[in-house]
Amino acid sequence: MRMAGRKIFISGDEAVAEAVRLVSPHVISAYPITPQTVAVERISDFVEDGSLQAEYIHVESEHSAMSAALGAAAVGARTFTATSSQGLLYMAEVLPYVSGARFPIVMMNANRALAVPWALLSDHRDSLSQLDSGWIQVYCEDAQETLDMIIQAYRVAEDERVMTPMMVNLDGFVLTHTYELVELPDQAALKSFLPDYSTDNKMDLDVPKSVCLAAMNHYMEYMMKQELDMRNVESIIEETDREYGDMFGRSYGGMIEQYMCDGADAVLVTLGSVTGTARVVVDSMRSEGYKVGLVKLRFMRPFPKAEIIEIGSKVKAIGVVDKDISVGYEGIVFTNVNSALSDLDRVPQRLNFIAGLGGRNVSKAHIRDMYMQLLEVAEGKEKEKIQFVNARCEYNG
């Protein structure tokens, strides 16, 4: 049954804080970094006013933020942390530690460019650099989705078939600091969607055990188990999304969302907030008769391989918008999409648009240009395969 909730006008950071209050972790350990700060400030307010009963650890670094979360998770506590950019990289050592230990910590990451040069605005190089850390990674399009995904993240991560930490990504400033009307799920109904966390994977005074141990001779098997479990996560994400939709009226399509892909010749693949701009462009181009569609990639790990293959079999051209670059190669999302497409007998034309680095604007006009180029390559024209969008100098690739 659909439960209507209260609507409030809040920013993306505040949506994170509201979601954390709703899921009520036992322990929050976080270190402030722009543009994540408002989230941890609001969470601190909630702990102070008693509306969130949690231990808030004022750690002295991101490395300690994740390590303290690890310690709390190791005794069976539900935990939350939040970071961004340099902070994520500072805690990078502890990410595979947590995923290997199979502790379902949930983390918010405010996507921000990496230094140097310094840039406080958003791109995806921070989180995409941690694709191999063993964490589930989801990217949100707006504040409402962010709130819903923090909640769903606990349900997925704590599922005993999963027991894997999850990083909920939202674009810095574009989402963290802009305001929108956000609906909060009914707290009583949420209790049945997200039961209290309980696990045997913990240190226990009644059943003492050693955790995070050395398994030199069993390392390979540990990693295999992690990979095999991760392969099942996709169906659990989809089942969680459906159930959440039934209860609260919002579902997001699971691993990906296809927007106007039926009958499309050319589609763009996007991650995060740029999806919103692309939707508007698709609407207007469709009304002009162009056969274009949009694939919102929601999860980067596990990667929606089957979905990408299915789309690839239907269209003539696929463009990937990468707000990142793996220097020396190409966009990181592009590499992943290409790898999936290579399973097809007939691979569609592909273009990689490197855009929005350091928060450089990606406008409707830029996206329209991407679609026009894709429609041209769909008809057999040649285009530069990897392009920098809205750059102020020439690229002779």
């Binding site: 303290a68 310690g71 005794v75 240190m203």
Partner: protein, 300 residues
């Protein structure tokens, strides 16, 4: 005083909480862990960064801790301890101890930031630094607590250098400067003193710190059966000291009327055997200066 607390060796339980491990015969660090856990008991959550004790104690499936135990990231033993304590508190666990054992490098070098944070917050954890004066687990490299003149694999002694050219970082006073509730130095050569200090730390409502000298026969170059003797002599010759910091005051627990000869202590160990009289007098002068300050400023 809690009646369950150990104040002397006769009250020590026969139960072992850390055994069957693969430490070297004569390992001082393993003794520091073993004795402390006999005081703290079964309801302990133990955290260790990657060091000798975790390397010899966590080899799946041969697990050596009878209590709950975890390996922490190297830089973050104190942060993991803080997280355990916060989680235990939030879950309503009672009558437990949260104790960490880190070596000199894990404490004074890579782990000092997390330790400082935990002490600053006053988290109720017991942090025990077992000091064997070098990175022993990785093969005897110099740390911030390696003393002057010690030969390590990264501070070789040769024609140009006498081994380590720096004195030990003053961890005890750095920790005390935080305004910690309880801090102490100890030596496994004086086990009753160590046991009492662990007992005191266990009753502390906030962060406590014990810095225990734990000689490493392999890294220091002496026969394993002489570990206790060396640990005792470190104190007797004045290069180490037994002290406490509580209620904002330092107290010397042992004030030798005269020091045993430094040269004898040094020459029993392979790491110092290359030292000449000039280097030994540098070490003695530094010792005398340190003791002058301690005797002047600390209670005894």
């Amino acid at each position: 005083m809690d009646k369950n607390m150990v104040t002397n060796a006769r009250e020590l339980t026969n139960t072992e909480f850390f055994y069957g491990h693969k430490a070297c015969a004569g390992c001082g660090g393993s003794l520091a862990v073993r004795l402390a856990l006999k005081v703290l008991g079964q309801n302990s959550f133990v955290s260790l960064p990657p060091n000798c004790m975790s390397a010899v104690g966590f080899l799946f499936p041969q697990i050596s801790f009878v209590t709950n135990a975890i390996i922490a990231p190297f830089a973050a033993n104190a942060a993991v301890l803080s997280g355990i304590e916060a989680g235990a508190k939030a879950l309503g666990l009672k009558d437990h101890h949260v104790v960490g054992f880190a070596g000199d490098g894990g404490t004074a070098d890579i782990g000092i930031q997390a330790l400082s944070g935990a002490i600053d917050r006053g988290d109720r954890i017991i942090y025990i630094c077992y000091d064997n004066e070098a990175y022993m687990n990785t093969g005897i490299q110099q740390s911030g607590l390696t003393p002057y003149g010690a030969r390590t694999t990264t501070s070789p002694a040769g024609k140009n250098l006498p081994g380590s050219i720096k004195m030990k970082k003053n961890m005890f006073e750095i920790v005390a400067a935080h305004g910690i509730s309880y801090a102490a130095t100890a030596s496994i050569g004086y086990p009753e003193d160590y046991l009492k200090k662990v007992s005191k730390a266990a009753q502390c409502e906030s962060t406590s710190y014990i810095h225990v000298m734990a000689p490493c026969c392999t890294g220091w170059g002496f026969p394993g059966e002489r570990t206790i003797e060396i640990a005792k002599e470190a104190v007797d010759c004045g290069l180490w000291f037994l002290a406490e910091y509580e209620n904002e005051k330092f107290t010397l627990n042992r004030k030798p009327s005269s020091f045993s000869p430094v040269k004898e202590y040094l020459m029993k160990q392979g790491r110092f055997r290359h030292l000449g009289d000039d280097d030994i007098s540098i070490i003695e002068r530094h010792r005398d200066h340190k003791w002058e300050k301690m005797l002047k400023n600390w209670d005894s």
